[in-house]
């Protein structure tokens, strides 16, 4: 197992190198440079030339890449062209917001998606099964930003039940030792703040969790249908085990393998920044940050941010692979 983990970690090097090459050249294929983006009407030819010189954009591209590689080996992702803040500082501020939202969205998707899929399989062909199919189809088909806008309009703007923007009521004075606001509120035993933070999480988590929910419900249903016709399940039933026990010990446990794969991939995707959801809800996470960076041609942010997210994605998948061994002892890594 240890050898497997080390090998996977070593694989990170070529993966991240590949990502760095792709990102570096991709953003330079976008038309324009930070100069035109930031200066707008004030972008006189002289100022644009001065900007290009200052950012080293007039140097050969391989030299620019070599410089960039040297700086990232020192963990220096540079300074944002638009905000003038260090990219590493921005990641420190923004990543916890994205993680918190992703966790909330996955909780929502898992707590509803898996039971929904399980019940649909158990009641195969019934009204519940059709209803779950319908919910899943809607979840997958509705564009996420559209759902976000609708949710926000109904529950925030019209009914006023939930807040529409941000992570927390800005008038609240709360301590944020970890920058994970739910955790912070629990650590400081600030229950009023905890409730406020949860209220801010509800709508974006539902919007963001809608697609994983639909996928999880479908995969769970299919997986449970497969497993419940296996010989060992029939044997367990024939031995007279209670249906609940059969479901828990034999059906669900074996059905969890494909579900956990999907779960891992979805968590990775959500952590990669929910651009649209974060934009609609003015959520100060990685997604809205990268979106602004694309508009501003903010090379250091795009390079640093995407490389960091690639690292996170690979790590999450590694953790999921390792978790297989715990879910299914038959799997042995070597």
């Amino acid at each position: 197992m240890l050898r497997y983990v080390v090998r996977r970690l070593l694989l990170l090097v070529p993966i991240l190198l590949g990502v760095s090459v792709l990102v570096f050249f991709w953003i330079r294929l976008l038309p324009g440079s930070p100069a035109e983006s930031l200066l707008g009407e004030r972008a006189t030819p002289e100022l644009v030339a001065a900007y290009r010189e200052r950012y080293g954009l007039d140097e050969p591209i391989y030299e620019q890449y070599a410089k960039y590689l040297r700086s990232i080996t020192d963990f220096d992702f540079g300074v944002s062209v638009a905000t003038h803040r260090q990219v590493t500082d921005e990641i420190k501020d923004r990543f916890p917001a994205t993680v918190e939202l992703a966790v909330a969205a996955m909780l929502f998707a898992t707590l509803i998606g898996i039971p929904l899929g399980f019940v649909a399989a158990k009641k195969y062909g019934s009204f519940i099964d059709h209803a779950s199919l319908f919910v899943s189809l809607i979840g997958i088909s509705i564009p996420i930003f559209f759902l976000a806008i609708i949710l926000k309009y109904v529950f925030a703007v019209r009914l006023g039940w939930l807040p529409s923007v941000g992570r927390i009521d800005v008038t609240i004075e709360a301590e944020h030792p970890t920058n994970f606001y739910v955790l912070d509120a629990i650590i400081t035993r600030d229950w009023a703040t905890l409730w406020d933070v949860i209220k801010h999480l509800i709508l974006p988590a539902i919007a963001l969790g809608s697609i994983p929910l639909a996928i999880l419900a479908r995969i769970t249903r299919a997986s449970v249908l497969d497993v419940q016709n296996e010989d060992y399940v029939r044997t367990a039933r024939a031995k007279g085990l209670a249906p609940m026990t059969v479901d828990r010990r034999h059906v669900l446990r074996n059905a969890m393998l494909p579900i956990s794969t999907i779960l891992g991939l979805q968590v990775g995707l959500l952590l990669s920044g929910a651009v649209l959801t974060e934009t609609v809800f003015a959520w100060p996470g990685m997604g809205s940050w990268l979106r602004d960076a694309i508009f501003n041609r903010d090379y250091p942010v795009l390079q640093g941010g995407i490389l960091f997210l690639a690292f996170v994605f690979v790590m999450v998948n590694l953790i999921v692979d390792i978790s297989y061994a715990f879910i299914n002892p038959r799997i042995r890594y070597s």
Partner: protein
């Protein structure tokens, strides 16, 4: 007293109390204001963006400031000022008993320390992204390290006693004192700047980056609000400065201001509707109706301080001919465009600067929409109709002066086609191509573009556009250049106004372009907001705001 009388008294008392509650302002409270982005830094000398200036406007004060809602200046930390006969020496009499937020005194020595700080900026600070406004107004530093910089306007500063600061310039300059209203030239505590490393910075990966704490955690001015906290992406918190020298003015005003960034326009309006904000800036034209339709909200108008215009490139045929330029001006149906696409939030522009600025002239040559006159001018120019003309417009952009460029273009193209032209339409994305092509003079004969003012001086409009050769317009006109040079060097405002009026007349005779709209950007706010006067430049004074009862 009968039961009916008691009821009546109770009813009247209740009504009076209710009215009282509705009418009275709550003392203090927190104002939540949403802009579009975080400030860049909290040291106003090294920023040039509106979001940074908005925060700076509450914490800092300059020697002068803009009058509320206007583009002319008023005394602030300087009670008064005089100019020497040669226009090079400016003597400022300062307010007494003013203290910076760190308790150190504001005096003439502090004024000179600030001027000398800007003048002595070196290394990274000479980067245009760090000191854009210093470079725009003062041209250069003590030791210029960048080839594009020129001889500095500033010469020296001397403290005469505690409360008189004498600033010497190297040449006469009219815009100087007007430009001092920019937050970039606000007075900062020399002690705090030294203590928290305000003058430490480096260029990291090509970007200016302050390495001291001052610009992030310790901005120290003399203003009515003090800095409390900045959580990037979420909020800047300012609290009332209880030692403020003019504190009696703001007895009922808010005692805490939270400025939060919400980049998405719709999200900002919805947060206002959902009572998560008190004021939302940068209301998109399509959201104005939503705010007006909400009984709790109202729309504030920011006074017009911009201009949308169609450039006419005089270096290209056929627009190198004045008759064709006049035909274009008569062929653009500006009144219809302003009526149709600006939702009542704009007036037709007749010159390249807003009417609120001194130097605006009533009697410039006007070019009402007249297709027949346009055709006859083209024939007079010896051209056969229709005359082909290339007309560019930007895509992927809305500006305060140009909320819907494509529709503006379509309407203009239609009216030009009625007037003897055949329009060849070209579009390019605002970022990066459009602005570059227009500014380099490589775009069309006609191009849609505009400008938002930075400070209350005509030099910021006319000087920027026409004082030197500008490829965007592609012409040289000695008379216009001479008038603008003289206006820049004049220090008496009345004389400057006359020179700019003359320049405006000449410009509109020469027709380097056709100004078509001055817009009033909208701000959404709760109805209970009082004492909020939107500033022309966007750097609103939020500290006088009072929160009335609901």
């Amino acid at each position: 007293m009968g039961r009916a009388a008691v009821k009546l008294v109770l009813l009247v008392s209740a009504a009076v109390m209710a009215l009282g509650v509705a009418g009275a302002a709550e003392k203090g409270g927190t104002l939540v204001f949403a802009g579009a982005a975080d400030p860049t830094y909290l040291d106003p000398a090294i920023v040039s963006d509106g979001e940074s200036f908005r925060v700076a406007q509450q914490i800092f004060e300059g020697l002068v400031d803009l009058k509320p809602g206007r583009s002319d200046i008023r005394p602030m930390l300087a009670k008064s000022w005089t100019t020497s006969k040669d226009g090079k020496t400016w003597t400022f009499q300062l307010q007494r008993s003013v203290k910076f937020h760190d308790g150190t005194p504001f005096n003439a020595a502090a004024v000179c320390a600030n001027f000398n700080r800007w003048y002595n900026f070196s290394g990274p600070f000479q980067d245009a992204s760090a000191t854009y406004y210093y470079q725009a107004i003062f041209y250069g530093f003590k030791r210029n390290e960048v080839s594009t910089l020129s001889k500095p306007l500033y010469n020296s500063c001397r403290a005469k006693g505690k409360y008189t600061a004498i600033v010497k310039l190297n040449k006469r300059n009219g815009p100087f004192v007007m430009a001092l209203a920019l937050p970039a030239f606000a007075m900062q505590s020399p002690t705090a700047m030294a203590k928290y490393g305000a003058n430490n910075a480096e260029i990291r990966n090509g970007t200016f980056y302050p390495t001291g704490d001052y610009a992030f955690k310790h901005p120290t001015g003399t203003g009515p609000m003090k800095f409390s906290e900045w959580t990037v992406g979420q909020r800047v918190v300012l609290v009332r400065n209880k030692q403020y020298w003019g504190k009696s003015q703001y007895a009922k005003s808010v005692d805490r201001i939270i400025i939060r960034p919400i980049s998405n326009n719709t999200a900002r309006v919805q947060a206002l509707q959902n009572q998560e904000l008190n004021i939302a800036d940068l209301l998109a034209p399509q959201d104005v109706g939503t705010v007006q339709g909400n009984s709790r909200l109202k729309v504030f108008n920011r006074p017009s301080f911009n201009v949308a215009y169609v450039t006419i490139n005089s270096s290209k045929a056929p627009t190198n001919n004045i008759l064709v330029r006049r035909a274009v001006a008569h062929g653009l149906d500006r009144a219809s465009v302003v009526r149709a696409f600006y939702a009542g939030r704009a007036v037709v522009a007749h010159e390249f600067m807003p009417p609120s600025l001194f130097g605006w002239a009533k009697d410039v040559q006007k070019y009402p929409y007249d297709p027949e006159k346009s055709k006859s001018l083209l024939r007079q120019a010896g051209l056969s109709l229709p005359v082909e003309i290339e007309f560019w417009y930007p895509t992927g952009v809305t500006r305060p002066y140009m909320p819907d460029p494509k529709r503006n273009f379509e309407a203009f193209a239609a009216s030009l086609e009625q007037s003897g032209f055949k329009v060849i339409a070209k579009s390019a994305p605002w970022r990066p191509d459009y602005v570059k092509e227009v500014n380099q003079g490589t775009a069309g004969n006609l191009n849609l573009i505009g400008w938002s003012g930075d400070y209350g001086d005509p030099d910021n409009f006319l000087g920027t556009f026409f004082q030197e050769y500008n490829p965007q317009f592609g012409f040289r006109n000695a008379k216009i250049t001479d008038l603008l040079n003289r206006a820049e060097q004049e220090t008496v405002v009345a004389k400057r106004a006359k020179l700019y009026q003359q320049a405006n007349r000449e410009i509109m005779k020469f027709l380097p372009g056709v100004p078509y709209a001055h817009t009033k950007p909208a701000i959404g706010a709760e109805k209970r907001i009082r004492n909020f006067v939107p500033a022309v430049t966007g750097s609103d004074d939020l500290y006088p705001v009072e929160l009335g009862g609901q």
